[in-house]
């Protein structure tokens, strides 16, 4: 489930509020709020759309988890999904790196 909106990085662009399929976030006067965490379906898409790498979705789907933001940053886990799919400048080539055709029919 979504666990973190990092106040240091978040610019209150509200993209996450818009793109979350299950409407987990609320806009506020400042940075968005995780208003309905239990509605999170752990699809990781808010994180993928966050241009500031300010969000972290924990992979635990059924229960909230305590998360250490400093450790996440240390391990460069914030934004790792974006980098893996090529949605950042440095890894753009990964957008066309799908090798499924080598794996199908196994």
């Amino acid at each position: 489930m979504i666990e973190v909106i990092d106040a240091e990085r978040c610019t209150a662009c509200d993209i996450c509020v818009n793109v979350c399929p299950t409407n987990v976030f609320d806009k506020t006067d400042g940075i968005p709020r995780i208003a309905r965490q239990s509605d999170c379906q752990t699809c990781f898409l808010c994180e993928l759309y966050c241009p500031e790498d300010a969000l972290f979705v924990s992979p635990f789907a059924d229960a909230p988890q305590a998360v250490d933001v400093a450790a996440l940053k240390e391990a460069t886990l914030l934004g790792s999904y974006r980098r893996a799919v090529g949605w950042v400048e440095e890894s753009r080539h990964l957008r066309a790196a799908d090798r499924s055709y080598r794996l199908f029919g196994h």
């Binding site: 509020v17 793109v19 699809c43 992979p59 893996a84 790196a97 799908d98």
Partner: protein, 542 residues
């Protein structure tokens, strides 16, 4: 010069609601809905698309990504592709539809390439188009939908259909969750593309898929088919949501003690895993993947690795506990019955596409996941959009048409106790999640579950509408309940095992059941047998 697309018209925007006038209304903005909207617009219609979540991130494809049934048009390859799954599907498929879907999927996929989808190129320089990255694909589809002139309503779940005095569909109404008000769209035709029903199991990207479109179509009188093929379960790490199953083809499965579970496998041995999970924990490890395969896996499905990388598990060298999450009709094949080549349903003006529609025509009784569903979503979306646009054009002007709301359960005003969506959803899950009820079926157990589900339906029907905040939950739970009843009633009617439907009391395939099971009804759920399409034609020719 191309003329700018005509847009749907906003009629009024008073406090509490917004009203649009359109030719075609598409409900759902996954692949099926976006292809339908674009196709309807290309065929001259003014289109509104309403999605429960956000068109572009919502639904199974956006989060998961899909293999696609994209096959080069050489006769041998096409023949092999069709033949390969006929036995698995229990010989219920229809060759004519398979040919159409293969042709259409080829065209649509190549269209995606022209639009700039970054398909990979293999070592020989040949483009490879049998896989789509979910976020990338659906981001592009949103963009193209907008460019086609379609008005998109995000965070706008449909609640009920509007129907005119002759029973012709006339639009729909719903909520705008982030605005706290309601929408209504008067339309000459409606496409249901709301996906399948995965019963809030948290299988990847699917908690928006609660069968809402089934319920509102049924309220207008639509019928369903192959609803017994609705017990797809997918493997995921026990704690996680990522039910991507391809890579488990390289896994070994072990029990608590570390002994390999005989017969357990992702393909062809998943029921063994289900049985083992009833005894205790089951572990997987992708120990059969060599270094090169591992590299390909990482590039092909970045989402598969999120649960592992974020918990410090190396899935190739360490074992991890797994579970099976129910995917219902999402990777099953049941859905709205379609009656012509344009995916019309039995209700005039109502069309169905993607997982909302049956996939029996190309999958029979075996899962549509893996490639067929994705092909079906783009093909049926294209056809349904075209069919809806043509229907709208033929209907002509509808300015003085009166329309009536068809919603029932959860929407009735009055003083009755309000419907509790959360509690109802859990009660339905109790009847559809357990492997001993749904994976391994048997008349006595199915009958018991149906009695409890029917009682829940009586209660829900008598309940009143909850307040606006709880309305969506209540309708979702009601849709899950209706879906469960069509599933199990159909499962009882098929007294054999075929495709994914397996009966402990009838373990063999029985050719007396080489037909489709149609179902429908709300207060009274009915089923009937329907001959296969190919058989019908054969008989007519005799």
């Amino acid at each position: 010069m191309t003329k700018p697309p005509d847009r749907a018209e906003k009629l009024s925007s008073s406090a509490g609601s917004v009203v649009f006038d359109a030719d075609v209304l598409v409900l759902g903005g996954g692949p099926a809905g976006t292809w339908a909207a674009i196709s309807a617009a290309e065929h001259g219609a003014r289109v509104v698309l309403a999605d429960k979540g956000f068109c572009g991130t919502s639904g199974a494809t956006a989060a998961a990504g899909t293999g696609v049934w994209y096959v080069d048009p050489s006769p041998e390859r096409r023949e092999a592709a069709m033949a390969s799954r006929e036995k698995l599907g229990g010989h219920l498929q229809d060759r004519r539809w398979m040919v159409r879907v293969l042709d259409r999927t080829y065209v649509q996929s190549n269209q995606l390439a022209e639009w700039g989808y970054p398909y990979p190129v293999d070592d020989e320089g040949k483009p490879q188009r049998n896989s789509l990255q979910g976020p990338e694909y659906m981001r592009l589809m949103r963009k193209r939908t907008k460019q086609a002139g379609v008005t998109i309503l995000d965070h706008s779940p449909a609640l009920e259909l509007l129907v005119d005095g002759n029973g012709v569909v006339a639009g729909a109404t719903g909520l705008r969750r982030q605005k706290g008000d309601r929408w209504a769209v008067n339309a000459k035709a409606v496409v249901i593309a709301t996906g399948g029903c995965a019963f809030l199991s948290k299988t990847l990207g699917s908690n928006v898929l609660t069968g809402d479109g089934y319920l509102l179509a049924a309220e207008a009188g639509a019928e369903f088919t192959s609803m017994e093929f609705s017990n797809a379960y997918a493997i995921s790490p026990a704690f996680g949501s990522v039910t991507k199953t391809l890579f488990y083809g390289w896994a070994s499965f072990t029990d608590e003690q570390g002994s390999v579970i005989p017969g357990a496998s992702s393909k062809g041995g998943r029921s063994v895993i289900a049985r083992a999970l009833r005894q205790g924990p089951v572990y997987a490890q992708l120990d059969q993947a060599d270094a090169e395969t591992r590299r390909h896996m990482r590039m092909s499905q970045p989402n598969f690795f999120l649960p592992f990388d974020r918990t410090g598990i190396d899935p190739f060298t360490q074992r991890f506990a797994i579970t099976l999450r129910l995917e219902g009709t999402v990777r099953g094949t049941g859905g709205l019955r379609i009656i012509d080549d344009n995916c019309a349903t039995t209700v005039p003006g109502l069309y169905a596409a993607g997982d909302a529609a049956t996939r029996e025509l190309i999958c029979g009784g075996f899962t549509g996941g893996g490639s067929h569903n994705a092909a079906w979503a783009m093909s049926s979306g294209y056809w349904a959009g075209q069919g809806a646009a043509e229907f709208a054009r033929q209907l002509g002007t509808t300015s003085r048409r009166q329309s009536f709301r068809r919603g029932t359960v959860g929407l009735r005003s009055g003083n009755a106790r309000p419907l509790q969506g959360g509690a109802l959803a859990r009660s339905v899950q109790d009847e559809v999640f357990p492997y001993e009820l749904n994976y391994f079926r048997e008349a006595g157990r199915l009958g018991g579950a149906l009695r409890r589900l029917d009682a829940l339906w009586s209660d829900a029907s008598a309940a009143g509408a909850p307040d606006e905040q709880e309305l969506l939950r209540a309708r979702e739970a009601a849709a899950m309940l209706a879906t469960a009843r069509w599933m199990y009633r159909s499962a009882l009617a098929r007294q054999e095992s075929r495709g994914m439907h397996r009966r402990d009391d009838y373990p063999e395939q029985d050719d007396r059941y080489l037909h489709f099971v149609t179902t429908g009804g709300l207060d009274d759920v009915w089923t009937s047998a329907r001959p296969l399409g190919s058989k019908q034609y054969a008989e007519a020719a005799e």
